[in-house]
Symmetry: C2
């Protein structure tokens, strides 16, 4: 996984995660190990991954292969320079990994969409008529996306109390378990990306927490969608897993019925199975796993999201983030938000004999975890964590 880190008096730079160490790729490059790949070492001395991403997938593959070779013999290869190359994670400060031009949030977790529908439109079909025809999405706020570990301030805002708008700190602060795609290639404005080429436009994937203030969101969101209920903060993992590393975890998606329009159709498997967990750590208690889910619960694939996003000519840029929406499973223990876990506050979630939650309390820390594990292959995503304060 790649990320941006700094330590001591160093400037932020590109790192490669290796266990509890971070390889300083500028140092590796200056030592000459990438010389035959013809990469400007300055690419590794940037405060964001965007220039590194722009090198393109063939170069990324070359770098990854070289790193694997070097790490097989790290004790020998780096004998004299081990301390310059390997920085202990505990000494590093992590930074937001990409400069995000635009951020889009999808709604591709069908069990989440159904749960929300059941809660808020109990008399109607839980899914709106468009849901199975297109990956529904909205544009989110890029400026307030922060790196994992950044404390999250409880937002003030307007919400209804006994039918009257009041102003104050949100009383229904929530997390959302999501995956974020980091876009790796740009398309020109006015040109679409076909579903078959869509995965070429993904640099990598990272865990993403779309913090949500449900009371603010509920009062504001008609008719134009979420605004202040979401834009106070979202948290992105510090570590981005290159998309190619998901290959061993490719699985068939759900049968899509009705069959979507041709621009969303594909014959091969474009879904992935990644285990996902949410941990809640109250300030005065033990941490507890409150959700176990999996990325295969997504109704729409990453490729379908990209094909849909660009079908009208919208241009994606390197570093853009496309998040999946909340990935809930089909059982209560797999719901990816407190809104669902506490069923809109009606069924408090018990963390211990004395502690329960409907929504987040100040001091609560939420950590999202994820990994792939299939047929002997294993890969880890970087955690994303955040603690609520007021």
């Amino acid at each position: 996984m790649y990320g941006i880190f700094s330590y001591g008096i160093s400037n932020p730079r590109v790192g490669f995660k290796h266990g509890h160490y971070i390889l300083d790729l500028e140092v590796v490059s200056l030592l000459g190990y990438f010389d035959d790949l013809k990469i400007d070492p300055a690419v590794f001395a940037q405060p964001v991954l965007n220039d590194f991403i722009a090198l393109g997938k063939p170069v990324h593959k070359g770098i990854h292969q070289r790193l694997n070779e070097l790490l097989e013999n790290e004790a020998v290869v780096f004998a004299d320079v081990h301390e310059q190359v390997f920085i202990p994670e505990t000494r590093a400060q992590m930074h937001i990994p990409v400069r995000i031009g635009d951020y889009t949030d999808f709604y591709a977790g069908i069990h989440h969409a159904e749960n929300v529908g059941r809660m808020f439109r109990p008399q109607a079909d839980p899914l709106l008529p468009n849901y199975k025809h297109m990956p529904v999405a909205y544009h989110g706020r890029a400026s307030s996306i922060v790196v994992s570990g950044t404390p999250i301030r409880r937002p003030n805002g307007q919400f209804l109390r006994a039918g009257t708008p009041v102003f104050g700190p949100s009383e229904a602060l929530d997390f959302e378990l999501e995956l974020g795609l980091i876009i790796g290639k740009s398309n020109p404005l006015g040109e679409s990306i076909s579903i078959d080429e869509a995965e070429d436009y993904i640099f990598g994937i990272a865990l993403f927490n779309d913090w949500s203030a449900r009371d603010i969101q509920r009062w504001e969101y008609q008719p134009l969608g979420p605004f202040l209920g979401k834009n106070f903060a979202s948290s992105l993992s510090a570590w981005v897993l290159p998309f190619d590393e998901l290959e061993p975890f490719r699985v068939d998606g759900p049968i899509q019925e009705p069959v979507p329009l041709p621009y969303l159709q594909t014959s091969d498997s474009k879904h992935f199975t990644l285990d996902l967990e949410v941990w809640l750590h109250p300030a005065d208690g033990e941490k507890i796993c409150i959700c176990r889910s999996n990325s295969h619960y997504l109704y729409w694939s990453f490729a379908q999201m990209i094909a849909h996003h660009t079908v009208g000519g919208c241009n994606l840029n390197i570093g853009d983030v496309l998040a999946t929406g909340t990935i809930s499973g089909n059982t209560p223990g797999s719901y990816g938000s407190l809104l669902e876990l506490s069923w809109n506050g009606e069924r408090p979630l018990h963390l211990s004999e004395t502690t329960s939650r409907t929504f987040l309390a100040n001091g609560d820390t939420i950590t999202l975890k994820g990994w792939g594990f299939l047929n002997g292959a294993r890969v880890d995503l970087g955690d994303v964590t955040g603690t609520i304060y007021s």
Copy 2:
């Protein structure tokens, strides 16, 4: 007004509009006329206004005052260098004036909101319950904002035909008459901007056309708001008018009843009267003015938009665009979109004896115009124009 232009083999640079000429501010700076203002001339050799904006309002005032002094005696002052300083507009190519981090679109035109409500929810109150309690808004797509003059490709997308989703070029392509605020100062994430200081965060104002595909929008927008119906393109004027120049056009806004929450309350006049027009020029016909409106029809002021946007801690950055939403007046000739002018296609708009429109045809050019004119004071906004192609 300030903008970014290039000509001949020059790089894009900062220009000041003076009649049909553009002052090359890098040249003016290198000639020494800004020396006492201690401005690095490199600020004027940038491809976007962001660094110029970051100089701050006191410096902008100093520059503006100096330019006024110089232009009073331009024939004498610039006698030997007139051709280097004054570039004819006809020789210049204009560029997008700012690097836009995030773009937000409000819904502050109350007559537009009422018209949309009457069309789509005829049995109900035209305004949703939240409308008069907060400036409703959504996040839009920054990457597809283009400078005035850029041709606009008719988007493909999904929409309903006889109740069935079909794919094809939008059959209900529309414009929206809006103003765009260009943010001039950043606030830290987690900190709000009070309504009394909100105007200090506005660098300037420009006409904005939020092109909309109504058929795509209608099918996709529940429950998360507009997405592909809007993100194929928006057009921003090449010229940004500094906010201070709106001072002579300050007027009282509408009486806001119910009285909004304290964070949206202000005692002084924070609305402005700017005349606005929309011209439609068919490929094979005469151009015709199809809408005359005014910015005083906005229900929510610019200051209220900023106070609301940041009240939960969302951070604004220099160069962000906050658009007002469609500014319709209260009579049919003042409606700021074809959706309203043709009443959702029911009443075609007659452009000539033989030509009418419900929505835009290929080859149509839409031009938005705006100016302030009050008590002898006069100021012009830069046009924003775009031609539809397929």
